[in-house]
């Protein structure tokens, strides 16, 4: 049933297994965190519906791929646009009105939660909990290529590399004029106005972009996790944690934090009973935030009591 060679797993190999699965999970957490940040940057709003957006991206693309047999890139484009637009609607209906008049600034918690409720229920009516298996887009595959005994699939490699690429892509985007404007709005709204920048427009664009990015994340997650309606919930909290540990609004921070979480988890799965995973994460979060109150890559609004 298996060859003797595959049997020999020394500690070093186990170490690589941890690393690989940690990086895989970490990549997804990081992507979610980044999509969080994109919205957060100019608006200072945590979109609680983010998890559901990711889920929409994953389910949507899965259907287009498996049911309608669209080519993967068309499907990807379609869901990114669709979810992007949806997020724009969210901004217009649920966020902008609340931000325009701040009631202790917490109104948006509820409105975004409400949007999350609406999406997840509509989806619950449309699809059951039966997950949809999504194959890795060719020529990639989920099969392990045993490189020097290190088990990693071509899709995992692609995912990790792509994540790095995307993170630095987004980072680069914030060095484009648009990105600089977004950062400017984040830093000083009035000053931005004086330069002729319209903060409202910036935040609308950020929402659309953040939504599309969430959809992309969902798409990338489905070959690993298989698309399901529960996917959002799984990724939301970890993404939130990654975003916070990394430093709100910091893309690179999210990358570091995402991998930190992923690897920590994978390590736990080997040495700790699953009941203690969150404990480890809590300790991680606390120790990072107490040393660096603004998160790993301290961002502008690292205000503490």
């Amino acid at each position: 049933m298996y060859s003797a060679k595959e049997l020999e797993t020394s500690d070093t190999l186990m170490f690589f297994d941890i690393l690989v699965s940690g990086l895989t999970a970490g990549s997804l957490y990081c992507l979610v965190a980044v999509s969080f940040n994109i919205l957060y940057q100019p608006t200072k709003v945590f979109n609680f519906a983010q998890g559901d957006l990711v889920m929409l991206g994953s389910m949507g693309s899965a259907l287009l791929l498996t049911q309608w047999n669209w080519p993967w890139w068309v499907a990807l484009l379609a869901v990114m646009v669709a979810v992007g637009v949806l997020t724009l609607v969210e901004e217009w209906m649920a966020v902008a009105p609340v931000l325009s008049r701040h009631s202790h600034g917490t109104g948006w918690i509820i409105t975004t939660l409400a949007v999350a409720m609406i999406i997840s229920n509509v989806v619950g009516k449309v699809w059951g909990v039966e997950p949809i298996v999504v194959p890795a887009p060719l020529p990639l595959s989920n099969d392990m290529l045993n490189l020097e005994g290190i088990n990693i699939s071509s899709y995992q490699i692609a995912l990790i590399l792509l994540t790095l690429a995307l993170v630095f892509g987004v980072d680069w985007l914030y060095h484009s004029l648009w990105g600089k404007a977004a950062l400017a709005v984040a830093e000083d709204r009035d000053a931005a106005l004086l330069r002729g920048i319209d903060p409202a427009a910036i935040s609308r664009w950020s929402f659309a972009f953040g939504g599309a990015f969430a959809a992309l994340t969902g798409y990338l997650a489905s070959p690993v996790l298989s698309a399901s309606t529960t996917l959002g919930g799984i990724l939301l909290l970890k993404g939130f944690a990654a975003a916070a540990i990394g430093g709100l609004g910091s893309t690179r921070g999210a990358l570091a934090a995402g991998y930190m979480l992923g690897v920590a988890e994978a390590a736990c799965s080997v040495w700790l009973s699953p009941g203690y995973h969150n404990t480890v994460i809590l300790i991680l979060v606390l120790s990072v935030l107490l040393v660096r109150p603004g998160g790993l890559v301290s961002s502008l609004e690292a205000r503490t009591v």
Binding site: H104, T106, I109, I118, L237, S273, N278, I281, V305
Partner: protein, 574 residues
């Protein structure tokens, strides 16, 4: 009263059961409102605290045959204690990180409830929790319900006590205006900790009842959604409003029953309703004008005759001595060896061109910035290394360039906030409404009214501070600073934006204040005012002392004129 008895009128257990559950939830929401609504700390982990209370109670009752009452007490302590272990570090973080930590904490708790099988019976949870009994007689569901009603009422009254006390004012200040809070001698961290401890304890109590009314509890009961539910309750009801959580919880329990046939679309409808509510009633149900009618307003009945001798007398007379103060902000030298001296009972003016370091000096004195070197002596104690609330407690009161009042609070309460450290009743006493509380309460109210009378605003004591015109806000802020009966009063551009008449009033006030032995240090551009009231002046330029002396001398000094008219450059900005 009839309302709480209503559920008893229906035959069948369902309504009663739901009513009981509603009360349990209400209990938690009332507690959470204290933390999130008043102290402004968003907790997404309260479900776990309820869980701790429930498990402690259930296990003690079932496995150790403790009585409900004792177990409940234990539950309260466990919830409170465990919560504090988490909150002690977390409360030092900013709001959102606090939310994250509470969220993770909640998951940890539920995980451990499973993991610690030997104690908690793992997934299957605690089954068959006995009903509470009072000396041998086992309470029926109705009796449990009534006990719970009593508890809710007591807790509600206790929180009302706390909210209307100095602690409540401190919490709101910590939420809306940390600067004003610490300038009034409130320790942000301690006040938040207090709020958390209270709400955690209440959650524990709720947990105890949750256990006995449900008779079976499993780790799954205390999920994240469970925690978020309470957040929804208070926001829907109106956070920071006493009745908010009550109304919010009721809304959530009545709605599904009213939906009836639409059941399977319930959650969707919730979502839409929430959205609509937040868009049209951002302050929650209690924020609706309809409810505004009967929201508590301060009623001022006591007509006091103003005895300035008492309210204006500083706790003790102290001088201010500043020696060789230095401060840099990245690369910019704000203060370069400033020194000045203000004698108790005198008015000293600090003037100079924009950005010459005047406000920086005030901030350094009141502890908002820590000088790189130099001393700030209040009497004989060096406060240069203390945090703002400690400095305030050493007898330093201040106002800000733009008045930092709490807009949603009555003018009277704003002034009373200033008296925070002169009240003595502990939170414990407040909750139990012991004698000292009432004396404190009356004293601070009378003092505040006197001060308002002194600044000529007693007629507006009931109004919301936010609704006052600018000039009057300044006067209120001065009254607040005085409420602490400071030895040293720092005024940062009090004249800015005042009308001529208000200006005269201000001048008289400041003189009156100093007459009673308070040292006044005033930063002001309006030289007319300076000339009129101050006995001595220090002129700053580029973070250094340019001239010192009586008003006349200083204004004769050509250097000063030049600095002002700006032939020379002025000091580094801040």
């Amino acid at each position: 009263m009839a309302l709480v008895l209503l559920p008893l009128l229906f035959n069948g257990q369902f309504i009663l059961f739901m009513a009981t559950q509603a009360l349990v939830m209400m209990l938690v929401a009332i507690g959470l409102n204290l933390l999130t609504g008043y102290a402004g700390q968003v907790s997404i982990g309260h479900g776990a605290l309820v869980g701790l209370g429930a498990y402690t109670t259930a296990l003690l009752m079932k496995d150790l045959q403790w009585s409900f009452w004792l177990s409940a007490l234990a539950g309260i302590f466990v919830a409170c204690g465990t919560g504090l272990i988490m909150a002690l570090p977390a409360l030092r973080l900013s709001t959102w990180y606090f939310a994250l930590v509470t969220l993770t904490f909640a998951q940890v708790v539920t995980d451990l409830l499973v993991e610690w099988r030997s104690l908690t019976h793992g997934f299957s949870g605690v089954v068959g929790i006995p009903a509470p009994s009072l000396n041998g007689h086992i309470l029926s569901p109705v009796q449990v319900y009534l006990t719970l009603v009593v508890c809710v009422v007591l807790v509600f009254l206790a929180t009302r006590q706390l909210v209307n006390s100095r602690f409540g004012r401190g919490m709101v200040a910590a939420r809306d205006n940390p600067l004003a809070a610490s300038a009034s001698g409130v320790s942000l961290w301690r006040i938040k900790l207090l709020a958390f401890a209270m709400s955690a304890g209440i959650a524990g109590l709720a947990g105890a009842f949750y256990a006995v009314q449900k008779t079976v509890i499993t780790p799954e009961d205390f999920s994240t959604d469970f925690s978020i539910f309470f957040l929804l309750c208070i926001v829907v009801g109106g956070q920071g409003k006493l009745l908010g959580p009550v109304v919010g919880t009721l809304a959530f329990f009545l709605l599904p029953e009213l939906l009836g046939p639409l059941q399977s679309w319930r959650l969707l409808i919730y979502g839409v309703l929430l959205l609509i509510l937040m868009l049209f009633a951002p302050q929650g149900l209690m924020g609706l004008p309809f409810f505004k009618r009967w929201q508590k307003r301060v009623i001022v009945d006591v007509d006091i005759q103003f005895d300035s001798a008492i309210s204006l007398k500083p706790v003790k007379n102290l001088d201010l001595t500043i020696k060789d103060l230095h401060k840099h902000f990245d690369g910019v030298k704000a203060l370069q060896g400033c020194s000045l001296f203000v004698k108790a009972g005198r008015i000293h003016a600090l003037i100079g061109p924009n950005g010459s370091g005047k406000t920086t000096t005030l901030n350094a004195i009141s502890g908002f910035i820590r000088p790189d070197s130099g001393q700030v002596m209040i009497g004989t104690t060096d406060v240069s290394s203390l945090s703002p609330y400690q400095v305030a407690q050493h007898g330093v009161g201040r106002t800000f360039q733009t008045p930092k009042l709490l807009g949603d609070m009555s003018v009277l309460d704003n002034v009373r906030l200033g008296g925070f450290m002169n009240e003595h009743a502990t939170a414990f006493e407040v909750v139990l409404n012991l004698p000292r509380v009432r004396s404190d309460d009356l004293a601070s109210k009378v003092q505040a009214l006197e001060l308002l009378k002194f600044v000529g605003l007693s007629s507006r004591a009931e109004e919301l501070a936010g609704e006052l015109p600018h000039g009057q806000q300044r006067l209120v802020e001065i009254a607040r600073a005085l409420a602490g009966r400071p030895a040293l009063l720092l005024l940062d551009e009090p004249a800015a934006g005042l009308s001529m008449s208000e200006l005269d009033r201000l001048a008289e006030l400041i003189e009156a204040i100093s007459k009673h032995g308070t040292a006044v240090l005033i930063v002001e551009h309006h030289l007319g005012l300076i000339a009129r009231i101050s006995q001595s002046v220090t002129v700053f330029d580029r973070g250094q002392v340019l001239a010192e002396g009586s008003v006349k001398e200083v204004f004769k000094n050509p250097e000063v004129a030049r600095a002002y008219m700006g032939r020379e450059g002025t000091g580094d900005s801040m």
